[in-house]
Every structure is written in structure tokens, then in C-alpha cells.
């Protein structure tokens, strides 16, 4: 190789120019990497960009005419928006499982672990990137809804609370996805998480009123985490009372984060030593 002419060691200028280890800086670089990866994967782009718009269109135009919104008396587009927001953002968050598994099984983790960085920064970067991506996804879904006739009636505070809830939801789900990604033995198995997450909103009060479901499903729909979140977002955006739904939703989110983060930390340590 004739091009290899420079001496192997560069002068100390470059290397001693190395600054102090900065964990926020490391996190920022790895989040940048994770987002860049997502931007280059067709499946991820599809999930994050096309899916929210597609689902919104399908529900409003295809199913919407046939579905009754029951006692709420809402237009279907108004009724379904929160569910589509959470479905799209959640599905995107579920991809975190595959991203973590890919790093773990693809060998990238070995490179990262021999770098002078804190190892927890690696899974954390996937979670942060997931939050960024999926807030954008939720915004797209919202944009599609507005174009299809969704007319929210919400104050700035309401919007801020909706944003906080979406961020919290994506955060909790991404953290759980990290646990899943660390538990499974292959990238393919990691993808199964998406299906669970995709399915959950359908069994909630989000797409059809829970009161129209048969007994057992109805019981499930009323007590699973998506329902209070949907009800909270719906109440905030349409200026309706939300009762306890807000607190229930917040409790689910906090529980999701508080339980999955330490598990993820232990698993990550175990899987990488």
C-alpha cells in the first residue's frame, strides 16, 4: 500500500489535544450517531415518517365512517387523534429494542467499550435519540390530523402537558425496549417488541370506545396503560374533563421508567462483561 507513508504515531499535538472526558459530550455524539443511523434506514424512516400519516388517514377516512364514538359524541377524527399519536410514537420507540440488540450482537459494543467513555452512555443514547425521533413522529401525526379536519381546543399549558406526556410515554417505552433488546439473543427477536407495542393501543379506549368491547377485553382496555394516556391527551386537546386519567397516566409512565431503568442498567452490565 503505497499511500501509507506517514509515521504511525502522530505528533503529540493531536493526541494530547484530547480534552477531559465529558459525559454529556459523549452522549451528544452517540445520540447524533443514533439519529444519523435512523435517517439512513428505510424501515426506520417509514415507521417515523410515513406510518403516522398513513395510520391517521386510514383511521379517519377508511374506518372512521363506520366507527361510533359512543357516549363521547365526538367526531371520529377528534376521537382517534390521541390514539394515533401514541401508536405512532410508541411504535417508533419500540425500534429502540432492535437498535440496542444490533449494537450488542453486531460487535459495535466492543469498540465502544474500549473507548474512555462511561458504558451506560451507549444505551442511554438510544433512548434519547428515540425521544427526539418520536416527538417528531407525533408532531407529524398531529400535522396530518390537522390537515384532515382535527380541530383542537387547547391552551398553551394543555399543549405543554400533551408534549410532556408524549415525551414521558416515549421515554418509558424506549427504556422498556432497551430491557427487551438486552434480554433477547438476536436482532430479529428484538423486533418482536414492536408488535406488542403496536397491538396495545388497539385494545384501549383509543380507536373504539371501550364500552363497545366484550367483557374481558373491556376490562383489559380500561386498566391498561394506554387508555388513561389516550383519555388524558383527548381531554387536554379537546378541553374536556380528564378526571383521574392524568394521574393514572403519569403513574404508569413513572413506573415504567423507574422499573425499567435499573433493570436495563443491570442487564447492560451483565451482557457486556
Amino acid at each position: 500500500m503505497s499511500t501509507i507513508t506517514a509515521p504511525a504515531r502522530t505528533g503529540p499535538a493531536v493526541v494530547s489535544g484530547a480534552g477531559r472526558a465529558t459525559t454529556p459530550g459523549d452522549l451528544r455524539r452517540l445520540v447524533g450517531r443514533a439519529l444519523r443511523r435512523e435517517g439512513r434506514r428505510l424501515d426506520a424512516l417509514f415507521v417515523n415518517l410515513a406510518l403516522p400519516v398513513g395510520i391517521m388517514v386510514v383511521f379517519v377516512y377508511v374506518f372512521g365512517g363506520a366507527i361510533t364514538t359512543g357516549a363521547s359524541g365526538l367526531d371520529y377524527v377528534d376521537f382517534v387523534v390521541p390514539a394515533v399519536l401514541l401508536l405512532s410514537a410508541g411504535y417508533g420507540a419500540a425500534l429502540t429494542a432492535s437498535n440496542v440488540a444490533e449494537d450488542l450482537h453486531g460487535g459495535m459494543i466492543d469498540r465502544l467499550r474500549t473507548l474512555p467513555i462511561r458504558s451506560w452512555v451507549v444505551p442511554t443514547s438510544h433512548v434519547v435519540a428515540s425521544v427526539v425521533r418520536n416527538v417528531v413522529t407525533a408532531a407529524l401525526a398531529l400535522g396530518a390530523a390537522l390537515a384532515l379536519g382535527f380541530r383542537p381546543d387547547a391552551t398553551v399549558t394543555d399543549w405543554a402537558l400533551v408534549l410532556a406526556l408524549v415525551i414521558g410515554y416515549v421515554l418509558a417505552l424506549s427504556a422498556i425496549a432497551v430491557v427487551w433488546g438486552l434480554l433477547v439473543s438476536s436482532t430479529q427477536a428484538a423486533e418482536a417488541f414492536s408488535f406488542i407495542v403496536l397491538f396495545l393501543p388497539y385494545l384501549s379506549d383509543g380507536f373504539v370506545p371501550a364500552e363497545t368491547m366484550p367483557g374481558l377485553l373491556r376490562g383489559f382496555a380500561e386498566h391498561q396503560p394506554i387508555t388513561p394516556m389516550v383519555e388524558t391527551v383527548r381531554g387536554l386537546l379537546l378541553d374536556q374533563p380528564i378526571g383521574n386519567a392524568g394521574w393514572t397516566a403519569a403513574a404508569w409512565i413513572v413506573a415504567g421508567v423507574v422499573i425499567s431503568v435499573p433493570i436495563a442498567a443491570v442487564l447492560f452490565r451483565r451482557r457486556t462483561t
Binding site: 500500500m1 501509507i4 504511525a8 493526541v15 484530547a18 472526558a21 452517540l30 444519523r36 465502544l112
Partner: protein, 314 residues
């Protein structure tokens, strides 16, 4: 640096009930290349993973760049670069983006990171492909990028785990020349390989690892003397002649008995000098043992193993 760049004493590691390392001792003086030679499953990668802080040993001590790998992992990581067996670069990023990312994670400033990446791409002959995604690279290019990624912080000590496995001969030769350059510039290298030829060409010393322990640790020349510069295989016409032929050819004082393969009617022995070939054929001829086929070849890892384990058993 007076002390050894890499030193391991009695490294042990088990996975469940499988004892992968049963006591590995290694010393790599600064600025030299040690080849850790062994087949799959002999413990090469496990040794490298322990020395690079990726894996904790069950027992034994190891220091890299003067730091204990178990207690001073961060200091060790600052001194080393690792090119693992599987590619450890990001397929979805370009070569340049990969190197800039790793330079950033080594805490080089943005401008220094860019300069370092450009410099490495140039040096490892990847400048033309710098802005293509790594997913489109050939095996040899990936390996070079991997090596470049390990060199981002100009480490004094480099671990290369089977760097040429799966490469075509040309890429292998290119990688060898890169490794020689690094060595020439003063880098200490521990390289694992399954190929005796590779170890022979690059290493100052070769440590042969077998079932989790070092079976031999010597210079390439000394090891080759032990194994023989050539391997002679003789196929006999009559299987019943085999034991007699073996006895006749094992009279040389400095050599252990030839290796006999009854099923193939073959006998294999080390040849250090062309005269030995003539001598062997003459002896068989005198004993009226008919030879059907003669084959001379350079020793393989199997031969090294056979000789070393035979020596250990004796």
C-alpha cells in the same frame, strides 16, 4: 518503558463448566509483536477480551501499559486500541463519520477529530471511499477501517484479534504491511491468528495457545526448528509396512517419532534439511518398503500442534 507493555500471569476463565483459559502466561515487551497462535476455541479471543478489559478473568493478573486490567480499566483503555474479530464499525455511517465519531469519543476537539479522521483515511488507503457507507465496503476495506478506528488515539498498544481471517490474499498482504508500519513506528502489538504463516511473517515471538494454556512461547525461528522447515508425507503401498517404516525413520536422535496414519497408509515427519529426504527414502528402500507417493509441504498449524503437544506429553 522498561517493563513489558503487556504482561499476564496465570489467567483463568471459565464459562459455566467450560474451562476456556487454564492459566495463560504472556509477556510482550514494548515495541514488539507477539502472535498468539491457536485454532478456534483455544482461548485466543478470551485472552484478548480479558487484556482489553472487556471481560473479567476468574483468576490471575494482567497488566497492560503498567495498569492492572481488573482494577484500572479506564487507564488501560486510554492506552490501547482493539480490532476485534467481528467488525466493530458502524455499517450505516461512512468511513469518515465512523472515525470522527470515535475521535470525538476519545475527546479530541471537533477540528482535531476531523483532521485525525482525514489523516487515518489517507494512511489506511480509504480516502477514496471515505464518504461511502461502510456497508458498501469490501472485507479488506472494513478491516482497514477497523484498524484505523483502533488507531484514532494513537495507542501505544494495539490488540488485533484475527485481523486477516476471511480476507483474500491481496487484502491480507495489505493489512500485513499496515501492521508492519505500525510496528516500525513503535507500537506494541498483540495479534491473534490461526495461520502460522501470518505469525511467522509478522511476529517477534509466537505464543502457541492450546486448550487455554500456552503450549510454547518462542521466536518464529525456534518454533520452526522444532516443527521442521518442511513436512514430509510418505504413502506406503502396503499398510503392514507402516510400523516398520516408522521405526526406521525415527532413529534420528534429535527427532521424535514420525506421525503414523494407518488408514491412509501415511507417515509424516519433519524435514530440516534436503538430505533427510534422500536419507529417508534410502532407508525405506533398503528395508524393501515400497513407497507409493511422496509429498513435501510447509508446516501448518496442525503440525505445530502435533509437535508441541507431543513434546508436552513426552
Amino acid at each position: 518503558m522498561d517493563e513489558a507493555a503487556i504482561q499476564a500471569r496465570g489467567l483463568r476463565k471459565s464459562f459455566g463448566t467450560t474451562r476456556v483459559l487454564t492459566g495463560v502466561d504472556l509477556t510482550v515487551p514494548a515495541g514488539t509483536l507477539l502472535a498468539l497462535l491457536g485454532p478456534n476455541g483455544s482461548g485466543k479471543t478470551t485472552t484478548v477480551r480479558i487484556l482489553t478489559t472487556l471481560l473479567a478473568a476468574d483468576g490471575g493478573v494482567a497488566t497492560v501499559a503498567g495498569h492492572d486490567v481488573a482494577r484500572e480499566g479506564a487507564a488501560v483503555r486510554r492506552a490501547i486500541g482493539l480490532t476485534a474479530q467481528h467488525a466493530t464499525v458502524d455499517d450505516l455511517l461512512t468511513g469518515r463519520e465512523n472515525l470522527e465519531l470515535f475521535a470525538g469519543l476519545h475527546h479530541l476537539g471537533a477540528r482535531d477529530a476531523r483532521r485525525r479522521a482525514a489523516e487515518l483515511l489517507e494512511r489506511f488507503d480509504l480516502a477514496a471511499a471515505a464518504d461511502r457507507r461502510v456497508g458498501t465496503y469490501s472485507g479488506g476495506m472494513r478491516r482497514r477501517l477497523d484498524l484505523a478506528a483502533s488507531m484514532v488515539a494513537a495507542p501505544r498498544i494495539l490488540f488485533l484479534d484475527e485481523p486477516t481471517t476471511g480476507l483474500d490474499p491481496r487484502s491480507r498482504a495489505e493489512l500485513w504491511s499496515v501492521i508492519r508500519e505500525l510496528l516500525g513506528a513503535g507500537t506494541t502489538i498483540l495479534l491473534t491468528t490461526q495461520y502460522l504463516e501470518e505469525a511467522d511473517r509478522l511476529a517477534d515471538r509466537i505464543a502457541v495457545i492450546d486448550h487455554g494454556r500456552i503450549a510454547a512461547d518462542d521466536t518464529p525461528d525456534a518454533l520452526k526448528r522444532q516443527v521442521g522447515t518442511e513436512r514430509l508425507t510418505l504413502r506406503l503401498q502396503r499398510p503392514e509396512d507402516l510400523p516398520g517404516a516408522g521405526a526406521r525413520l525415527s532413529t534420528d536422535a534429535d527427532d521424535a517419532a514420525p506421525q503414523l496414519d494407518a488408514d491412509a497408509r501415511e507417515l509424516t515427519m519433519a524435514i530440516h534439511h534436503p538430505d533427510q529426504l534422500r536419507d529417508a527414502l534410502t532407508r525405506l528402500h533398503e528395508a524393501d518398503i515400497a513407497v507409493e507417493q511422496v509429498e513435501l509441504r510447509t508446516p501448518t498449524l496442525d503440525d505445530v500442534y502435533f509437535e508441541l503437544t507431543k513434546a508436552a506429553a513426552a
